[in-house]
């Protein structure tokens, strides 16, 4: 092969670094939303690469819904210590006071308050004018039209019919006060690309991605892990140990596990490639109509 040709993964890497640097150069107060999942880990590594040998010149922010897997929080704290990253944790305090949870208030309301509202609160509080997210266009149909620089008005709303045209690698970073841009450096990556990158770059990921015996209950055909005693068990429901792993990570009561033996990235990928369903299937949050993600985006969720 011609020595001056990059493989696709390298090409994506360089494209993402360009995007991340552009944000750091043109915005006053950027932040990187950090969800601890594999996409976040991939994005974080790209940010490290973008500013090496310097430090990442913006903070990471984790919107904690308080129902994240415990392992996620431990992993997060250790990681930030290891790489010296500046981490902001944001919890919707009002939501906590009102004891908002997915069991009593339903998935939609809970997610809206503890995730969407919390995110908006945090962005307003710190007056961030740009927020990186790890979303990819291949994740869900409504995301395939998303820009790399996605404009949000002062209410954080996304207007799919009025997006700025985006050409070449020339990103329009101009915003008025209180408006902001969500930036998706992984736009052109696929799920397989992210895994492959993590594999070849030896990026640590949270062990929940690897199969292990864990306590679960089965609800409506979805395996939910019993991560702590806040999940109310229904009559006759008994957690049982199953060898499971997660394809996506979020709030434990809302994240479906898959039964699996895959304990390494190649094994996960092997299962994934032979698997028959697309990735977000595992998230209870998407179970509404196909347009539900788009609805959430308009409201200000990623």
């Amino acid at each position: 092969m011609n020595q001056y040709v990059l493989n696709h993964l390298k090409e994506l890497e360089h494209e993402s670094i360009h995007i991340i640097r552009e944000v750091a150069a043109e915005f006053e107060k950027p932040v990187m939303l950090f969800s601890i999942g594999k996409d976040s880990m991939c994005m974080l590594r790209l940010a490290q690469k973008a500013f090496h040998p310097g430090k990442i010149p913006f903070p990471l922010m984790h919107v904690n819904t308080t129902f994240k897997f415990r392992e996620m929080i431990e992993f997060r704290d250790q990681l930030c210590k290891d790489i010296g990253a500046d981490l902001i944790e944001w919890i919707n305090k009002k939501g906590v006071e009102d004891n908002i949870n997915p069991f009593d208030h339903g998935t939609q309301r809970y997610t809206h308050i503890m995730k969407t509202e919390a995110l908006k609160q945090a962005l307003d509080h710190y007056r961030f004018d740009a927020a990186f997210g790890g979303a990819r266009r291949d994740e869900e149909k409504s995301r395939s039209k998303e820009r790399v620089f996605s404009f949000r008005d002062k209410f954080h709303a996304w207007d799919p019919k009025n997006q700025r045209p985006e050409l070449w690698n020339l990103y329009n970073s101009r915003v008025h006060k209180d408006e902001s841009i969500r930036v998706f450096p992984l736009s052109n990556w696929t799920e397989l690309d992210v895994w492959l990158y993590i594999h070849y770059e030896n990026i640590p990921v949270i062990p929940l991605y690897y199969a292990k015996e864990r306590p679960v209950v089965e609800r409506n055909g979805t395996l939910i892990m019993v991560d702590d005693d806040r999940i109310p068990l229904e009559p006759g429901e008994e957690p049982e140990m199953k060898k499971i792993r997660f394809r996506t990570l979020g709030c434990y009561p809302l994240t479906g596990a898959v039964e699996s033996d895959a304990a390494s990235i190649p094994e996960i990928l092997e299962e994934m490639m032979l698997c028959k369903s697309s990735e977000r299937q595992g998230r209870v949050i998407d179970y509404d109509e196909a347009g539900s993600m788009e609805e959430k985006k308009r409201e200000g969720y990623f």
């Binding site: 090409e11 973008a50 997006q163 698997c275």
Partner: protein
């Protein structure tokens, strides 16, 4: 072969290694609503095993609800994302799809074929190496086929595939295909595409998409998928001309200063001699630093960090090139522009231009012609509307380092941004052909710029001499703030105070200037900019004479103030921000300016329907709510004394 088959055949480790090494091809699909474009993409995804069962199930369900194919699976429904467009049955915007085959990974930019076609196609095409242009076999070459070909060519795509679709509906007739082919060849010859292919297909049935068609034995060429896998794209890249626009300066400590950026073209090697444009300063590449270790060389499109041997002044917006192979550098450029906004492009219009890593104000000085994309004829035009394409000339405030788009898709491209709404208005491709007139005018402009330096050399009285005689440094005190924030009151009180201290001083008041030197100007973005430019030039002349100038102008945009600072000179410019909240200014509204703006009688009033960008680094900030007029004046006098501008 599907991905699952490939994994099974190679084993996972080998598969991953092979997968990693795949080359990326970005392609564009063009066609109108009925050409079967979405069907083709759905078919490509399906036939290459990218569609999961749950997605297929969803599409089958949707086929019953929205489908247009009766009982057969509507492949188009594998794609459409947004609710609104589903209801309308059309694709609205640019969507991206991803798939991989044994040899390559593909990103498809899918753009719709209805009235927003030009804007969306240009957007989708900007990063693509190849375009598939769909032609409906039943309808043959249409106006839109020419239009699509033109835009594809304009955006610099070199590989074009005409896919003649719906061959099943014309009985797989070779003559239909041959006729279309010869007609397309005729006009394709005039375009810049260097590599043109024709394939007869049926996207719905899959003929010649992934599988060779048994119904068209007369066709001996490759299937579409085969062609996409093998078309040679490696040579499309410009590896000759090093262009490294500096994006971000990385300075973790005093020992390291590196320039982060993307090698937009060419190759940069350790030890190379490089020149920074526009400063012209030379140095050598000391190291090419990455997270994964230092590199001997980096090539397009790698994002790296370059450290130089010498400490030369380089910052974002500068470009590193090789000394013997530099880009052009000019304030005036000519370009083809695709207009993407309802607000029309007009001669005299003032915008922000973003090119490489530079953002600077730019004014349209000429609109040579509009291109009718349907007939490909040039026509005279006074302005450009949404989806129109024209040839323009631009004057930029800061000189741009650029190449012709045909030679370099990165340094030859730019976008235009609205200075007030921040919308992306248009996309431009720089043309290197210049008219004789433009060339000569360039010479005049250079002479004019040169005059700037000659003038001070002619005078036998130096600025220092004048300062000594007058007892002060001649500076420009530039008061900026919302209307009624107190600028004029402070300006005139300050003038009196300085005059009483024995200094030569005068006021340039925005409103007074509009009665005379600026009476030909209105309140559009371009006119505001010109208003301020003239004021700054007058202030500079008065400084040259030895006077202290006090300018009181709203000057709402930081870029415009930066230009005033450049004209007057950094050392002589004292920016004073008169800070007062909008509601306070409105309450002081003696002339009823705000009231009229709120009532909609007048537009472009700063604070109401035009933005004010507060200065981030003014020399002085005055809180005109908290402080009295006298206190404000005193604060400025203190600043002038502390900085040796007037004696203590």
């Amino acid at each position: 072969m599907t991905r699952a088959d490939e994994v099974a055949r190679l084993g996972i480790d080998k598969f991953l290694e092979t997968y990693r090494e795949k080359e990326l091809l970005r392609l564009l699909t063009c066609g109108s609503v009925d050409d079967g474009k979405s069907t083709l993409i759905g078919r490509l995804l399906h036939d290459t095993g990218q569609v999961f069962e749950d997605q297929l199930e969803a599409a089958k369900r949707d086929t019953k609800r929205f489908g247009t194919t009766g009982e057969e699976l509507d492949f188009a429904l594998l794609l459409d994302g947004l609710e609104a467009e589903r209801e309308q049955g059309i694709t609205i915007d640019v969507a991206h799809y991803y798939y991989a085959t044994e040899r390559r990974k593909f990103i498809i930019a899918d753009t719709p074929g209805h009235e927003q076609y030009t804007r969306n196609m240009a957007t989708g095409a900007s990063n693509c190496a190849l375009a598939i242009i769909l032609v409906d076999a039943r309808r043959g070459v249409l106006e839109q086929t020419r239009r699509h070909s033109f835009i594809v060519s304009l955006l610099g795509i070199r590989h074009v595939v005409f896919a003649v679709n719906k061959m099943d509906l014309v009985d797989f007739d070779q003559k239909v295909f041959d006729d279309i082919r010869s007609e397309c060849s005729d006009f394709a010859a005039k375009l810049q595409a260097t590599d043109v292919h024709f394939i007869p297909i049926s996207a719905l049935r899959g003929d010649n998409v992934a599988e060779r068609s048994e119904s068209m034995p007369w066709y001996g060429g490759s299937t579409l998928l085969d062609l996409l896998e093998t078309v040679h794209i490696a040579s499309d890249r410009n590896l000759i001309d090093l262009r490294f626009p500096v994006q971000y300066v990385i300075r973790p400590d005093l020992n390291f200063r590196g320039f982060g950026g993307t090698v937009e073209s060419g190759i940069i090697r350790r030890g190379d001699e490089v020149v920074a444009i526009p400063s012209g300063k030379k140095s050598r590449v000391k190291s090419i630093v990455t997270f994964d270790g230092e590199l001997e060389e980096a090539f397009a499109p790698m994002s790296v960090t370059v450290a130089l041997e010498d400490e030369i002044d380089v910052s974002r917006g500068d470009m590193l090139v090789h000394p013997a192979n530099a880009s052009k550098l000019d304030n005036s450029i000519e370009a083809m522009v695709v207009w993407m906004s309802d607000a029309r492009l007009e001669v005299g219009g003032s915008y922000l231009i973003k090119q490489t890593t530079v953002q600077t104000p730019a004014t349209v000085t000429e609109l040579s012609y509009r291109m009718d994309v349907n007939t490909l004829r040039r026509e005279d035009a006074k302005d450009l509307g949404l989806n129109e394409i024209g040839r323009i000339s631009l004057e930029t405030m800061r000189p741009l380092a650029f190449d012709a788009y045909a030679k370099n898709r990165h340094t030859g491209a730019f976008i235009l941004i609205d200075r007030l709404t921040n919308a992306t208005l248009g996309a431009g491709m720089i043309v290197d052909r210049r008219s004789a007139e433009a060339t000569l005018e360039g010479r005049t402009a250079r002479a004019r710029d040169a005059g700037r330096h000659i003038r001070s050399q002619l005078s036998k009285v130096s600025i220092e001499d004048r300062s000594k005689r007058l007892g002060h440094q001649p500076v420009t005190i530039w008061l900026t703030g919302l209307p009624r924030s107190g600028k004029s009151s402070i300006a005139f009180a300050l003038e009196k105070a300085l005059f009483d201290l024995g200094h030569g001083v005068h006021v340039l008041d925005g409103e007074n200037l509009r009665g005379g030197i600026n009476r030909d100007l209105g309140f559009s973005g371009a006119d505001r900019f010109e208003n301020q430019r003239r004021c700054a030039e007058v202030a500079r002349l008065c400084n040259d004479v030895g006077l202290i100038s006090i300018a009181a102008l709203v000057s709402p945009l930081s870029a415009d103030r930066a230009e005033a600072r450049r004209i007057v000179g950094e050392a002589r410019f004292v920016e004073v921000f008169c800070s007062a909240p909008l509601d306070v200014c409105e309450s002081r509204d003696g002339h009823g300016l705000y009231a009229r703006a709120r009532a909609g009688e007048i537009t472009n009033v700063t604070g109401v329907d035009a933005p004010y960008e507060a200065p981030a680094s003014a020399e002085l900030v005055l809180d005109t709510v908290k402080h009295s007029l006298d206190e404000s004046v005193e604060a400025i006098l203190v600043h002038l004394r502390d900085n040796g501008i007037i004696p203590a």
